[in-house]
Structures are given as structure tokens and as C-alpha cells.
């Protein structure tokens, strides 16, 4: 019997390593085999521990805690001792009195199993299933077969296969991958470079981290295939600094690949040579933009360059370079092995294959979801994500992060497709899907994003540097109840100016969160400006606190908590809040056990 611990960043944060350490302590006699894997994407159920019997998954245990370690160990060790080898399909569960049935309360529910069953996984095909630190585990699932196949093909044929697949860039812009490869291949230059964009700047997206942490070899293999196709012999992976585990796993994977002759000179005995190096980013959102990323690789401030010339012509050190996103590369080996047509068979007219989304926010089942293009937002948020948690009501979903927009409820049947999503004013983006319920203020959401872009603007062009700052000021005053009639129109004017005038994608798309919230939630802007009211009750300055005398039991807890003595009332009598003294800290509402504090 084998216990496999899900040790991606979220699993570790939820306590996976502590549980493993506790089990290992008990396992002095090695009665149970212990292993690790990456992130299966069911982050809301972490820590997850899988029980394997002779290579077959027999039980998936979820939300496992340190205190469960002993009982898990005992049940699994007992099952191992009891178990004469079973046919691989027989479930241990079905055997009466089998020790594993002790663990029924930790087992994943049928509902939660749906989360995975409804997905189609290509980029995430191995995530959470194999040991990311063991190259043999990757090779056992057809790993590094695609590069072997590619080395017998011409680079032109490789590009043609990618063209058939219809693969488009997963980093945000959705540009056809074959076209970029072809441009880099045809560009003149002795030395060409391949760059993997693992900067994953959209706050709320984490699929690239999951791929690197859980299946680093599929990224390496995808990059090798791309390097072969464009004729690059040097490659970089630019990983954001906030992902230390991803860097460690990728370093290990690169070392193992090198040892196996899959990297370096004359790969697998061919004429193809390629080296891959990791460069850690240093924290700057704009470095996700490809030309800024190149500046950063060169050791400079990450300020974007004017395009054209595009990187395919003049990229890293002015040499022809091709940049792709992690998820884009993670699809490549699958396409080579299964054929471009198999990939293109999934999806819509304009968007082929699958896309990974990071489902977060007020969602019941948050995690990584990979689905064929063409499903609707509703399919993902309600069908797979299980809808809004804590009994809330859906208000909007934010897609594309600081470059994207908020999509309201009446557009939930929009298909996941580059064109259809673009028509809503949002974008496909890199796959962040932050779900919001009625407690999220959309004006404050726009302010949040403009705060982000204003801080992250590199300062090179005036439209972005000053424009985002002015927008942020206006949005801030609206959320403080100091908005003026005409502010919305002023915002719109600024948006149009910035879109037209900014140098790079950061500035050009920074207005999107503002434009989409104005388009779909204009009434919230008006309520802030005209009535000094925040309909979501989120904006602190506009909140009012009062006590419902019918619900108040006079327990005095709130009065004791109030830091400014704004609450008065006798014991067992309804209390009252003096609005003149109240500083709107919300401690009374957090303290009240009877829900008597009314937030208006």
C-alpha cells in the first residue's frame, strides 16, 4: 500500500507536510510506502492524501489533519498486511470489514468527485497524479516520447502540426502559437532564444504555478519541442519570485533532464542542442509583458519596448526570440503525441482545445478547472464550482485580472471562447476567474484594480503613469462618498484616452475593469455618487451601523468591544450605537451572537 500526499503550494499551506511527517514517524518499519505528488486542483479539499494499492487509486482522503495521521497509517498498514494481491480493478472498499473502511469519513464525497469528472485535462494531465520530483514517473506516462518523435520530424512539420491544433497563447492575448514559432524560425539571426513566461502576474491566477510544481517535465518537454521548431539553442524560464517551490521543483527537473541527456549538447544523440536556465523575477507585474520581460532578463528595469520590432525579430539581446506562456507549452507534447486534429476537435470555431481556469473568490469549490473551450461560464461556475458558497447570490465573475473585466449574471451563458468573452468587455486572460457575490462592491472592485495598475505602472508613458493615478483618485473619492456628478463620464473619457495612448498592454487594458463595471453596474456608481450609499455594504466610509432592538438581548458584548465607547445600554436591555461616535470598525457586528447589528 502506498500513501501519496498532495504537496503543491496549497496542499503544503493547508498542512500536507505536517501530516506526512506524522505518518512517517509512525512508519519506522516502512510498512507503508510514502510518496508525494503535485496539485490535483481541488484546493478547497486540501490536504489530500491518496491511497494506492499496487498502482491503483483505491481511496482519496480529503481535508486530512495531523490528528488523522495515526488512524490513516494504521488502517493503511493493516490493509497492506491483510491484503493478498488483488486484481487491480477491485476496490478495497467492497471487501467487508476491510481496514480501509475505517477512513470512510475522510473519503471524498460523490459531489466533490464531480469536480474532477466534469473536466477534460490536457495541460494539467499529470498534475496531482505523478511525483513531480521523479523523472521516471513522467517517463512512465509517455513523458519525453513527444520530443523523440519530434527529433525525427522537420521543424516545419512540427510547426504545421501545431497549426493544425489551433493552439493559441494561453498567457492572455491568445495569439496563434504556430504563427509566432514560424516568425521566429524565419527570422534572420545566428543565435535564437526561447523564453517561457512564468511570471503569472494576474493576482488570482495560479495555473502556471501548479503546472511547474506538479508537472515540470511537461513544461521542459514543451519547451524543447518549441526550441527545436524555431531553431533556438538557449532558453529561459522567467519565474516570479513569489513561487519558491516552483523554482525548486523546476531546478530539480532540469538537473534530472540534463542527466538523462534530454538537455544540453546533442540531445538524445541528435544534432539538436538546447539549454534551459531559470531566471527568477523580482516582483513587477509589468514584467509579464513580453518586451518588459526581455528587459528584465537583460538585468534592466522592466520597462516595455515599443513594438514593432516584435521579439520574433529583435528580442533578448536584439536576437530573434519567442515567448510563450507555461500553459501554452504544457499542451505541446500532448498535441505532438495525439495529433493536432485531436486538439482541434475540442472547442469552438475560433478557440480550440482546452483552457485552465483558477476558480476562486466566493465559490463553493475553488481550485483549478480545465475544460474544453465552448462550455459556458455557468457550466464552470455552477456546474463544476458548485455555485456561490455560504448561501450567497452570484453577482459577477472577474476574468483577465487587471486587464480584464467583470461579467454580470445575465451573461453567464456566454461561451468560453476568445471572441465571445471579448464581446463582453472582459477577456479570456490567463485564466483567473474570481467569483463575487452580493457583498462585493463593484466600484470598490474597480478601485482595487486601478490601485494595482497605478502602482505597477512602470512610468515610461504618460497616459498610463498619470492616467491610472487620476482614475484611482476618482474611484477612491466615489467609494468614500465624495463622488461628483459627472465623475462617471470623466472616468469614461480617461479610459478612452488611456486605451488609445498607452505604450504597452498594461496601460491599454487598465481601463477594462472600470469600463465593464460602469457598463454593467452603473446603478452602483450612481448610488455611491448621488445617495452616498454602497449597495453591497462594503465601502467602509459609507457604512452605517445600528442595533435592531428586537434582536438585541442586552448581553453587553458589543459595548465592551467598541473601541470608542459608541455603544450604550443597560444589561438585558436593547443597546444603541451613537452614529456621531462610531468609527465604523465593525467590531460590534463581528462580536454580536444574535445578528442584532444592522449594517446599512
Amino acid at each position: 500500500m502506498k500513501l501519496v500526499f498532495g504537496e503543491g503550494s496549497c496542499g503544503i499551506a493547508a498542512g500536507a507536510r505536517k501530516v506526512r511527517a506524522a505518518v512517517e514517524k509512525l512508519n519506522a518499519d516502512n510498512a507503508v510506502e510514502i510518496g508525494i505528488t503535485g496539485c490535483i486542483g481541488m484546493c478547497y479539499l486540501e490536504p489530500i492524501v491518496d491511497v494506492y494499492d499496487g498502482g491503483t487509486l483505491v481511496k482519496r482522503l480529503v481535508k486530512v489533519q495531523e490528528k488523522d495521521a495515526e488512524r490513516i497509517y494504521k488502517a493503511v498498514a493493516d490493509a497492506g498486511r491483510a491484503g493478498a494481491p488483488r486484481p487491480p480493478t477491485a476496490s478495497v472498499q467492497q471487501q467487508d470489514g476491510a481496514p480501509l473502511s475505517e477512513l470512510a469519513d475522510l473519503e471524498i464525497s460523490a459531489d466533490d468527485k464531480e469536480f474532477l469528472e466534469k473536466q477534460t485535462r490536457i495541460a494539467l494531465r499529470h498534475c496531482g497524479l505523478i511525483d513531480p520530483e521523479d523523472i521516471a514517473a513522467y517517463e512512465a506516462v509517455d513523458g519525453y516520447k513527444a520530443i523523440r518523435k519530434v527529433l525525427a520530424m522537420t521543424p516545419e512539420d512540427v510547426i504545421a502540426e501545431i497549426k493544425v491544433s489551433g493552439l493559441a497563447g494561453r498567457g492572455g492575448a491568445g495569439f496563434p502559437t504556430w504563427f509566432k514559432w514560424n516568425a521566429a524560425r524565419n527570422a534572420k539571426g545566428e543565435q535564437k532564444y526561447l523564453i517561457c513566461n512564468a511570471d503569472e502576474g494576474d493576482p488570482g491566477a495560479f495555473m502556471d504555478r501548479a503546472v511547474i510544481e506538479s508537472d515540470p517535465h511537461s513544461l521542459i518537454e514543451g519547451m524543447l519541442i518549441a526550441a527545436y521548431a524555431i531553431g533556438a539553442t538557449k532558453a529561459f524560464v522567467y519565474v516570479r519570485a513569489e513561487y519558491p517551490l516552483a523554482i525548486v521543483r523546476l531546478e530539480k527537473a532540469l538537473a534530472a533532464a540534463k542527466k538523462a541527456g534530454l538537455l544540453g549538447e546533442n540531445i538524445l544523440g541528435s544534432h539538436f542542442s538546447c539549454d534551459i536556465r531559470i531566471k527568477a523575477g523580482a516582483g513587477a507585474f509589468v514584467c509579464g509583458e513580453e518586451t518588459a520581460l526581455i528587459e528584465s532578463l537583460e538585468g534592466n528595469r522592466g520597462m516595455p519596448r515599443l513594438k514593432p520590432p516584435f521579439p520574433a525579430e529583435k528580442g533578448y539581446t536584439q536576437a530573434p526570440s519567442n515567448i510563450n506562456n507555461v500553459e501554452t507549452f504544457a499542451n505541446v507534447a500532448w498535441i505532438i503525441l495525439n495529433g493536432g486534429a485531436a486538439f482541434a476537435a475540442m472547442g469552438t470555431e475560433t478557440s480550440k482545445g482546452t483552457k485552465v481556469f483558477a476558480l476562486t473568490g466566493k465559490i463553493k469549490r475553488g481550485g483549478l478547472v480545465e475544460i474544453p473551450m465552448g462550455l459556458t461560464l455557468r457550466d464552470v461556475i455552477f456546474g463544476i464550482g458548485g455555485g456561490i458558497r455560504d448561501g450567497g447570490t452570484f453577482k459577477a465573475v472577474q476574468m483577465g485580472g487587471p486587464s480584464g473585466g467583470c461579467i454580470p449574471e445575465h451573461l453567464l451563458d456566454t461561451k468560453i471562447d476568445y471572441k465571445a468573452l471579448g464581446a463582453t468587455g472582459a477577456i479570456m486572460g490567463s485564466g483567473g476567474m474570481v467569483v463575487m457575490d452580493s457583498h462585493t462592491c463593484m466600484v470598490n472592485m474597480a478601485r482595487f484594480f486601478l490601485d494595482f495598475t497605478a502602482k505597477e505602472s512602470c512610468g515610461k508613458c504618460v497616459h498610463c503613469r498619470i492616467g491610472t493615478k487620476r482614475m484611482h483618485e476618482i474611484l477612491t473619492r466615489i467609494t468614500e462618498g465624495k463622488g461628483k456628478e459627472g465623475d462617471v463620464e470623466l472616468l469614461q473619457e480617461l479610459c478612452n484616452g488611456i486605451k488609445a495612448g498607452a505604450l504597452c498592454g498594461l496601460g491599454q487594458t487598465a481601463p477594462n475593469p472600470v469600463l465593464t463595471t460602469i457598463r454593467y453596474f452603473r446603478d452602483e456608481y450612481d448610488a455611491h455618487i448621488r445617495e452616498a450609499r454602497c449597495p453591497a455594504h462594503e465601502c467602509a466610509a459609507l457604512k452605517t451601523y445600528s442595533i435592531d432592538p428586537a434582536k438585541c438581548k442586552g448581553c453587553t458584548m458589543c459595548a465592551k468591544k467598541c473601541p470608542v465607547g459608541a455603544i450604550t445600554g443597560a444589561v438585558k436591555q436593547p443597546h444603541a450605537i451613537d452614529p456621531a461616535k462610531c468609527i465604523k470598525c465593525g467590531q460590534c457586528a463581528a462580536t454580536c451572537k444574535f445578528g442584532a447589528v444592522v449594517i446599512g
Partner: protein
């Protein structure tokens, strides 16, 4: 000590310069290594890096101030990275920040007087499904509430007494 009389042990940089010798594009990597060594980037270290890499001090400072990872001042023993990314924002990161400020008496970018804690807000730690999230040194803490955040900080303070 004031900045102008800072004296760092510059010999610690020698292996770093050796490791990146001949790489003209390694300035950021060198700064990262230097920060690992000194905990921050002292002024005399920046000058030494400028001289050794053939960059102007202005360029080195320009790079060091562009990226949020670099610090020009020492940080506390425990560095709290508080996520204020989108998912964490929607799930109440502001209330966590408020709780930490209440507990520690310092805000974003500041260090407590006893040198135990520094707070720094970041844009996403990649653990969005556990939001709101913070990271203290190497450990990530998820599904925070204001009370839980205060509690974690108190426990660390107790442990270091």
C-alpha cells in the same frame, strides 16, 4: 547606524561575482544573491555591485528600486507577506491587514520596534483558493480571519521570547 557610515562585509560578495563572471545580464540575479546574504541591500553593497558589474550606481539603484522584492532597509526577523490579490481582496484581505496593523502597530513596509516583524503586502501568493492568505518566512497561512491572523502573530512572538 545611518546610511552613510554603513560598513558591510563586502568580501561575502566575492563568490557571487565569481558565479556570475562574464554574464552581462546578471544584475538582478546578483542583487537577489546580495539580498540573501545581507537581508537587504545596503548602500555600500550597491556601490560595490555597480563597480564590479561596470554599471553606474544610478542604474543599480534604479533596478533595485524598480522591483518590489528589493529592500534598501533591514527587515524584521519575521517577514509577513500579506496577500492583497484579487481573490484575497474579495475574501476580506483588508480586514486581515487591519487586524495585523492593530496587533503590531506598524503598517505596510514597516518594522516593529523590537525588530520582530515586518509587514509587506504582495499581489498574489498563488494560494488563492485558501484566501485570504499570508506568508510568514517560509510558511503559508490560509483561510485567515482577523482573529486567526492575530493569533498566529502572537504565537510567533511568544515563541521568540
Amino acid at each position: 547606524m545611518c546610511e552613510c557610515c554603513e560598513k558591510s562585509d563586502l568580501s561575502k560578495l566575492t563568490p557571487v561575482f565569481e558565479a556570475f563572471a562574464g554574464d552581462d545580464h546578471a544584475l538582478i540575479s546578483i542583487l537577489q544573491k546580495a539580498q540573501e546574504i545581507y537581508g537587504y541591500l545596503p548602500v555600500d553593497v550597491l556601490y560595490a555591485i555597480a563597480e564590479k558589474t561596470g554599471n553606474s550606481p544610478a542604474k543599480v539603484l534604479g533596478v533595485a528600486t524598480f522591483y518590489t522584492q528589493f529592500r534598501l532597509k533591514p527587515v524584521g526577523k519575521n517577514l509577513i507577506l500579506l496577500c492583497k490579490g484579487t481573490a484575497c481582496h474579495v475574501n476580506g484581505a483588508d480586514s486581515i491587514e487591519k487586524a495585523l496593523v492593530e496587533e503590531l502597530g506598524v503598517g505596510d513596509g514597516e518594522t516593529t520596534d523590537d525588530g520582530l516583524f515586518s509587514i509587506k503586502t504582495v499581489a498574489c501568493l498563488g494560494c488563492c483558493s485558501l484566501s485570504p492568505v499570508m506568508m510568514i518566512n517560509e510558511d503559508t497561512y490560509g483561510s485567515l480571519t482577523p482573529a486567526k491572523a492575530k493569533d498566529i502573530v502572537r504565537k510567533i512572538r511568544e515563541a521568540s521570547k
